[in-house]
Amino acid sequence: MDSEDEMNYDEEEEDSQEEDSNDEDFVDIAMEPEPSTASDSRETEDFQYEVLTADKIVHVMVECIKEVNAVVQIPATITRILLNHFRWDKEKLMERYYDGDQDSLFSEAHVVSPYRKDPRQKRSTRGSTSASTSESMCEICCLVIPHTDMAGLECGHKFCFQCWTDYLTSKIINEGMGQTISCAAYGCDILVDDVTVMDLIKDAKVRLKYQHLITNSFVECNRLLRWCPAPDCGHVIKVKHYDVKPVRCTCGHTFCFACGENWHDPVKCIWLKRWIKKCDDDSETSNWIAANTKECPKCHVIIEKDGGCNHMVCKNQNCKADFCWVCLGPWEPHGSSWYNCNKFDEDEAKKARDSQEKSRCQLQRYLFYCNRYMNHMQSLKFENKLYQAVKLKMEEMQQHSMSWIEVQFLKVAVDVLCSCRQTLMYTYVFAFYLSKNNQSIIFEDNQKDLEHATEQLSEYLERDITSELLVDIKQKVQDKYRYCESRRKVLLDHVHEGYERDTWDYQDGL
C-alpha cells in the first residue's frame, strides 16, 4: 500500500502545480488586509474537516469498529459486516441491535449469529458419505481432501484451501467484490469476513485490491467521507457534519463536499448536476433537430431544408409527398407561388410552427448560457498560464528595486481573477435555470458588474503587466481586484439571501 501511495503523491504534486501554482515563491503573507485567497473563507471558517491518507482511513474504520465493539461485544469481523450493512451508521446499528429481533438482524446482514449455540452443520452431503471422516470431497474441485486442508465459515460449508483462494481471487479481481462476497456454496448468503479473506489470500496483489475495495466501500457509503475526485489522488476528506461546503485536499484540489464537483457557488448541486448532464448528453442534438428540421406531413421522415424554394417533395421513395415547407400543408393549392406561402393558417400547421419556434428559442437560450459558461471555463484554464507570466514579472521587478513583499499583489490579483472566473462560470448555470423576477434582475445586474470588472482586471494583468512601469499599475491593479472581490461577495451574498428567503423561481423542464 505504501509504495503506491507514494507514487500517487508525486503525481498529485505535479497536478497541484498545474492547477494553482502553489509554489514556495507564492506563499501568502498577510501583510495588509488582502481579500482572502482561500476560496471562500466565509464558508470555510466554521466548517471543520480533515484530509485523510489511505492508511488513516483504515485507522478510522478500525476505530469505528472498536467503538461499536466496546458496546456490543461480538467478534470484530461480525461488527464490520453489520456496520457495512448499516452503511457505517453506528447509531442505526446500535438502535437495531438493542431494539428487537437480533436473529433477524443477523440474517438480514448475512452473518451467522454469534449467539447461535449449534452452528448449522450443513456439511456437504456428498462429502459426509465419504468413508473416512477425516477427509471429504471438495464440491468445487471434486477432489477428496483431508479436513485439515479445508476451510469454511460459520455456515458449515467446507471447501479446500485452493478452491477458496481461487474463488475469492476471482470475486475480488474479476468481479470487484469486497465486503459482499458470500460463501461459495449454492444458495448460501453468509458473507465472507475480512479475516477469513486475509487468511486465505496470500497473493499481495489480490490482498491489496481487497483492501482497496473494502476501504472504498467504507468511504462510499459513509456520509461524512468523500474521496478527493482529483485524478490519482488517494485522499479522503472527513467532515464533522455533512454540508454543502468547499473543501481543499492536500493535493490542492478544491471541491464541493456534497457533490464532488468543483466548488460551484452560487449554483446548487442539483442544478449543476442537471447542467452537466445536459451538456454531456445529446439532448441538445435533439433540440437542434427540433429547431431546424420539420417532419414530412405524410410519412414523418425528418427533413432539413438547406435552401431552395418552399415546394418540398419528400425524398422518401415510398412517400414522395408534395408539400409546402412554410405551412406544411399539401402543395397543390399553392400553385406556382414557390417562394412564399399566403395560405390561411390551418391549426395543424400552426401548432407545428409554434412548437418549432419554442424549440428554436430554447436552443438559443441554452447556447447563450452555455457559451458564457464555457468561455469562463476556458479563460480559467488560460489564467494558469498567467501565473507563470506573473511569476516572471515578479522576479524581474525584484531586481528593479522592488521588494519581495511589494510585488506580491500580482499573485493575489491572479488568485482573485481565478475565483471570480469560477464564480462567474457557475452564475450562468444558476441563471439558466432561473425564472425572471425582480430578484433575478438584480442578480443579472450583479453578474454584469462582476463580469465587467473581472474582464478589466484580466486585461490589466495580461496587457499592462508587460509595461516597464509596474509601480504605476500597482495601484490600478490593487483597486481593481479589491473591487472585483467585493462585487463577487455582493453577488454571492445576494444569491444566498435569496436561498434563505426562497425568492428564486426556477424554470422546470429544461
Partner: protein, 151 residues
C-alpha cells in the same frame, strides 16, 4: 492442466459413472473439445415434455467453475416454455446471478429438467419476438430479470 480442465475431467468421470436420469453426454466429442459440451436431455415422464428430446450446449470459460458456463438449447427442438426463448436462451438465475462454483453440469441439467417439469402451459416468453431480434449471441450478456420462481 488448468484447474478448469481438471474440474471438467472430474465432472465427466462422475457423469459417466452415475449419469442422472434423462441426461446423456457424448463423451467422445467432449474429449475432442473439453470446453464445449453437448448434452442430450429428455423431458421428464410426468411432465408436458414427456418423450421430447432436447439438446443443451455448455460453453466453459477459463474461469470455470468460478464463473458460470454459457448454457443454451440448440438443435431443432427448442422447448416451448415461458422461460426459454426461441433462440435457445434460458432465463434461469443459477446461470448468472445465483451461480455458485459448487454447482456443476449435472446440477444445471437437473435444474433445467425440473424447470421444464413444473411448467403448466407450453408457451414462449411474452417478449420473445423482441428479445430474439435484439439479444447478444451470448446469453450471459443479457441482463435477466428473474421475476417468477413459480414455473
Amino acid at each position: 492442466m488448468t484447474s478448469m480442465e481438471k474440474r471438467l475431467h472430474k465432472e465427466l468421470q462422475l457423469l459417466q459413472k452415475e449419469p442422472p436420469h434423462g441426461v446423456k453426454i457424448d463423451v467422445e466429442s467432449i474429449h475432442r473439445n473439453l470446453t464445449e459440451w453437448i448434452v442430450d436431455l429428455e423431458g421428464a415422464q410426468e411432465s408436458l415434455y414427456r418423450g421430447e428430446k432436447f439438446q443443451l450446449l455448455f460453453k466453459f470459460g477459463d474461469r470455470y467453475p468460478f464463473d458460470s458456463p454459457q448454457v443454451m438449447f440448440i438443435g431443432n427442438n427448442i422447448p416451448v416454455h415461458p422461460h426459454v426463448y426461441s433462440n435457445g436462451h434460458i432465463c434461469l438465475s443459477i446461470l448468472t446471478d445465483d451461480w455458485s462454483p459448487a454447482l456443476s453440469v449435472t446440477s444445471v441439467c437437473l435444474s433445467i429438467v425440473s424447470m421444464l417439469s413444473s411448467c403448466t402451459e407450453k408457451k414462449r416468453p411474452p417478449d420473445n419476438a423482441l428479445y430474439v431480434k435484439t439479444c447478444s449471441k451470448n446469453p450471459k450478456k443479457t441482463r435477466w430479470f428473474y421475476h417468477d420462481d413459480e414455473v
